[in-house]
Symmetry: C2
Subunit: 218 residues, 2 copies
């Protein structure tokens, strides 16, 4: 196995090809940092795209949801999926309108899903998805019962093809614009946790655990 | 014109129907707050989904990009699009794994695009997209030249059909789980601006303008 995804028609970064990256590790880090992904599928020629939580297990993306949801229906049926994951790092404010941009790290993944059916596999996937959302959470909570497992569809999508696209750094204005008396630079953006809000029904004697108090995304 | 989008097959919120919302104002506020959207389209039966900046002008979504990009090609051709916009507001930490969730405000939009062709229309759309990203920016920057306008494709997509899906508030554990000695609550997340980073090429005498210094979403 190579460390890069093969460049083919569907995953080739066409615009700003210099921002394209096919490295498995780079792609996997973006997948692992993001809270949610956007899954696209086709139903009768009509595209759909739906946000959902995910996790990665080796070279597979894991998704879960109600078996009767539109997305899980299509994913369980093994139809072609495309999944985008996008992290916004900042606004790139140039001197010219044309050179405005965004600093981002994004991936686009292609594959087909298949349902996980055994309780063991489903449980492992739900653990991965929970730990992806909040590392340390799984050990603290009440695990799924048999009937909850039954009510949850879990799909694994082996990542057949993928690419990342990344922009970072300052604005790049044309030479003749650089002398303009206009402020240019980057406004970084970060998704940050605010102080936790206890469930109103919570026994006030139960303290905020470390995995919540010290939460940060990667 | 009613204030709600008609509920039909493709925009009906099937899962957690109580979280569904078809109100035009609710949907438009989510569109206006988000920095980017994810656009899905179909090419030879294969779904694609790509992140891109947007703006809203009345009942149309505006997109721009290079005319040779895959997305702009499909959008200019008037093929069916589906656009998802997702704001993550917090992680919902329940006592049971099964009741974990995310607080979010999301919309899914359906329509077909058409290219804007006159310089005036394109300029207005680029102003809207720039102002959507950073309110107050357009007045401060060097406007697009005729050749820059030519190099930029702009597509308007009238929003034919849409729905929002919103979850907020504390976790909802089953009755028998509420007595478990497990911390439960919400960890709010907010996308926040960090201190601006000037372009290394910037004349240090140029101060950070108010529209950057006081930047906030919405």
């Amino acid at each position: 196995m190579t460390d890069e995804f093969e460049i083919a028609q569907r995953n080739r970064v066409r615009l700003h090809a210099d921002r394209g990256n096919y490295d498995r590790e780079v792609i996997y880090q973006i997948i692992d940092e993001a809270i949610c992904c956007h899954v696209a599928f086709v139903e009768g020629g009509q595209p759909f795209v739906i946000p959902i939580n995910h996790a990665r297990s080796a070279d597979r993306l894991l998704l879960h949801g109600s078996p009767s949801g539109r997305l899980m229906e299509r994913a369980q049926a093994g139809e072609p999926l495309c999944i985008a994951i996008t992290l916004i790092d900042g606004l790139v404010l140039a001197r010219s309108a044309f050179s405005h941009s965004v600093n981002y790290r994004s991936v686009v993944l292609f594959g087909r899903g298949y349902p996980l059916t055994s309780d063991d596999e489903k449980l492992q996937a739900l653990e991965a998805i929970t730990e992806h959302l909040v590392p340390g959470r799984w050990a603290a909570i009440r695990r799924p019962t048999a009937s909850e497992l039954k009510a949850t569809a879990v799909v694994a999508m082996p990542i057949e093809s993928a690419s990342a696209k990344i922009r970072s750094g300052p604005p790049v204005d044309g030479k003749q614009d650089r002398e303009l008396p206009i402020w240019a630079g980057v406004l970084p953006l970060q998704e940050q946790p605010m102080p936790p809000v206890a469930d109103p029904l919570l026994d006030p004697g139960i303290p905020v655990p470390d995995h919540v108090r010290h939460y940060r995304r990667k």
